[in-house]
Symmetry: C2
Subunit: 341 residues, 2 copies
């Protein structure tokens, strides 16, 4: 049901930026360069000389300094994409405010509220729309990137009361062009959601990997797919896990408390009555609902003045945007929306 490639009905000139300026060329930035290059000219930059050389060798246009990258972005009316670790955003935002203050700006960090605040503080004139493509692997670095990383993935695009719908359409157009489904969300709602379905799973994988190790060589030699799958993301570089989890502290603590509560009740029930009925039935029901969630979507068409609210409703209900049209009457959006009948 998901649109895997941009439909020819999307007018490229209206909803794709004339160029992309990607700051940071690791797994996400490098994959975005590869995926976007066939439809939009890309300028890349990385603080690492080795990464810049590797990207240039692979045929990508690479600026030799941040200042030059931002200068080129202004000249070509590019959308600037912060694809560096979120812990390095503040100096980048200060540089943007100095060299390209009114540029179109997005980022691909896995937390959104703190970035929204940093942009408001350090680059307040930037036309910023936060985004978060929900794609990745345990690998990292320029060489790990692929042009297919975003295909079929959810790509969160953030909206607030201040958001400019045309700037949003530019970022959403990029996400559609690389094969993602666009999920509009409020920054706080995004952070609460990813704490539960991305950050907490990383912490549980890290804990489980240690519990297995404490069982010694016999336990590890018996480990089959349930252990291997459940600990896979513990193979991600620790500093990347820390960057995303520690910057989403408040929401993650809430998700951890939910998990600790469910596990603690199950532990008490097992110790006192020997039964795991409650966790077994509730967990199975939740997983079954998760598996069936995509089957209920119907296509809808959004237009009108309250577009921000309409888009946020689509995302909050579990839907996503699949196309954007510009006619004489302004913006029209096609979306998949849960059929609650």
């Amino acid at each position: 049901m998901h649109q895997a490639l941009p439909s020819p009905a999307i007018p490229r000139s209206a909803d794709l930026p004339p160029a992309l300026c990607i700051l940071g060329l690791g797994l996400i930035g490098g994959s975005l360069a590869r995926a976007a290059q066939p439809v939009i000219p890309v300028i890349g930059w990385s603080p690492s000389e080795g990464t810049r050389a590797a990207a240039a060798e692979d045929g990508y246009q690479v600026a030799d300094s941040l200042e030059n990258a931002l200068g080129a972005a202004v000249q070509r009316d590019a959308l600037v994409v912060l694809a560096a670790p979120v812990t390095t955003f503040r100096p980048l935002l200060s540089a943007i405010d100095e060299h390209s203050p009114e540029v179109r700006l997005t980022d691909v960090a896995s937390v959104k509220a703190v970035v929204q605040d940093d942009v408001a503080e350090l680059a307040p004139r930037a036309r910023y729309i936060g985004s978060h493509p929900m794609a990745g692997t345990a690998a990292s670095g320029w060489s790990a990137g692929t042009d297919s990383l975003f295909r079929g993935a959810a790509w969160v695009t953030c909206l607030t009361d201040d958001s400019d719908i045309d700037d949003w359409a530019t970022v959403a157009g990029l996400a559609l062009a690389v094969g993602s489904r666009v999920v509009p969300a409020d920054p706080q709602a995004h952070d609460a959601a990813v704490a539960r379905i991305s950050h907490l799973p990383h912490l549980m994988a890290l804990a489980l990997a240690q519990v297995g190790e404490h069982g010694g060589a016999l336990a590890l030699s018996l480990a089959a797919s349930s252990f291997a799958d459940a600990t896979r993301v513990a193979g991600t570089r620790p500093e990347l896990i820390r960057a995303m989890c520690e910057t989403n502290r408040e929401a993650l603590i809430g998700a951890m408390d939910d998990a600790l509560g469910i596990m603690g009740v199950a532990r008490g029930s097992l110790a006192s009555t020997g039964s795991l009925l409650k966790i077994a039935e509730a967990g199975h029901r939740a997983r079954t609902a998760f598996d069936g969630r995509a089957d209920q979507l119907v296509q809808v068409r959004l237009d009108g003045d309250d577009m921000v609210d309409q888009l946020l409703s689509v995302g909050a209900a579990g839907g996503h945007v699949s196309g954007i049209d510009r006619g004489g009457d302004g913006l029209t959006v096609q979306a998949w929306y849960p059929d609650l009948d």
Copy 2:
């Protein structure tokens, strides 16, 4: 490095039983029937008439009653395999004691100490060697079985001070014949290990599925591979998860406390200092060690009087048995053993 198929050097007549009698034809019993039939005649039985009919229709020899199945087992000197849910073992063991008291017996349940005790109580004359093939999928039933389920899997074979090494060799020979690597283990050590690498991962998946659901439709629509992989086994039928987890209560509580402790410390650290350094580094190191564990094995040859102790040492160190020979001097076992240099 793992031997995927029986080596021609294994003398079939010595180490494979003349026939297999499989009681229970679900995913595990049905897969074992399919995998063993090419090398050993199989008699199957299930309490379900529909399952018996399905297996017979697929060309397998099926007894129409438990009594007849056990009678055939005695007549053909078969190895009886308990492949029904562990919660149904006690009446089966009483029937074995009545109809085939001295039969060679194994089981495939995911807990071993409680079954060892039940056999000692209810079928004390049976030549019992407990086993546990570490293979499975979220699917169940005769139709879910495949002849490749055990290939490359760890197959635990239990040894105690009372074990008859020839009976052990028969069960180990079956496991090798269906492509598994044989891991000798004490029943209690097995239960402690699987609590950590199988039962706890199921409970964590059940908890995480609920935490995701509590995040609502937006959270589930953003869930990518980290959530999908970490909750996959929550799709297993709740009664199967309960049967294996509730029968391993003591060891599982220990594993849950270990996990709750690690998560609780991380929660406290995140709330007080904002840091997840400890869980991130220890978990990553544990997962990396898990990934590298198979690279250190060297082949060794076991013989002599203290074979039970030697075999238990192999399993406890993370090694496994890959072949069994019978010469004039008795049993010789080839094993892969960790190279600790």
